[in-house]
């Protein structure tokens, strides 16, 4: 009875730790891939780089504002 309990808890614990570790690895890999894309998307939407706050190409700003594109 006690042995069964110990084995069950050990299985639960190892499964939990394994799953958590796996989850952390997959989420960090996913973040590595998706973060640059999200940064670019946000920067395009706002019209400036959200990291350095420098304006992107002006045509992009015009396009976002619904105006005709074209460099100045």
């Amino acid at each position: 009875m006690l042995w069964t309990g110990i084995i069950v808890i050990m299985a639960l614990l190892s499964g939990y730790i394994w799953g958590k570790r796996d989850g952390i690895i997959s989420v960090s890999q996913q973040n590595l891939l998706s973060t640059p894309l999200l940064l670019r998307q946000e920067s395009f939407e706002k019209g400036y780089c959200i990291l350095c706050h420098k304006p992107r190409k002006k045509r992009i700003i015009y396009k976002i504002k619904g105006q005709q594109g074209g460099r100045i």
């Binding site: 006690l2 309990g5 110990i6 808890i9 639960l12 614990l13 939990y16 730790i17």
Partner: protein, 193 residues
């Protein structure tokens, strides 16, 4: 039947008295970090360690092997966070813990020492599990914070079952004594949850 009940009660009170001694000693060491009024050693004043000594003496007179092994196991587990630090004995935490474990196993029997070791680990884990949020705020060392809450709880159950497996005869009385003491301490330190 009466003999069995008397033994159960004596073990229970032995655990309670040794638990009080451990609690006072722990609060005495944590005085600098714990400035609250709930600190037992602070409330007892400069004589707190004497109360701890009286308490462990009473526990030892009721049941020597259980009380002393629990006290030694608490000392060893208290060292877990400072295994590499050097102490006045010029030994590091790991060396001191090993020597105390071997001495305890030699004097009280390896079964009792191992039982106490796992039992005290389980108490430490459930205490850290309950105190996780508070310790995180205060910045104290906490196993639930270090290894995760669920892992901490599962390890608590595991170590409790292992201690039960090691010494099935004394486990019920020790467990009841520990639960009585722990709930009393929680009641005394109302509001720490």
């Amino acid at each position: 039947m009466l003999h069995v009940m008397c033994e159960f009660i004596s073990i229970m009170f032995s655990v309670i008295f040794s638990g009080i001694a451990i609690k006072i000693a722990d609060d005495y060491l944590d005085q600098d970090m714990d400035k609250s009024e709930k600190n037992l050693a602070r409330n007892l004043g400069s004589g707190s360690m004497l109360y701890a000594m009286v308490s462990i003496a009473l526990a030892a007179s009721l049941n020597t092997s259980i009380s002393i092994s629990l006290f030694l196991a608490s000392y060893i587990i208290g060292m877990f966070h400072d295994l590499r630090s050097y102490f006045p004995s010029r030994l590091n935490g790991f060396q001191e813990s090993s020597i105390i474990f071997i001495a305890g196993a030699f004097l009280l029997g390896w079964k009792m020492m191992l039982f106490s070791f796992f039992f005290v680990i389980s108490i430490q884990l459930i205490d850290d599990y309950i105190d996780d949020y508070k310790d995180e705020l205060v910045g104290q060392r906490n196993w639930a914070h270090r290894i995760g809450k669920v892992e901490c709880f599962l390890l608590f159950v595991l170590t409790l079952l292992i201690s039960w497996l090691i010494n099935e005869e004394v486990f019920p009385a020790v467990f009841v004594g520990a639960v009585v003491l722990y709930t009393t301490i929680l009641y005394y330190q109302k509001g720490r949850l």
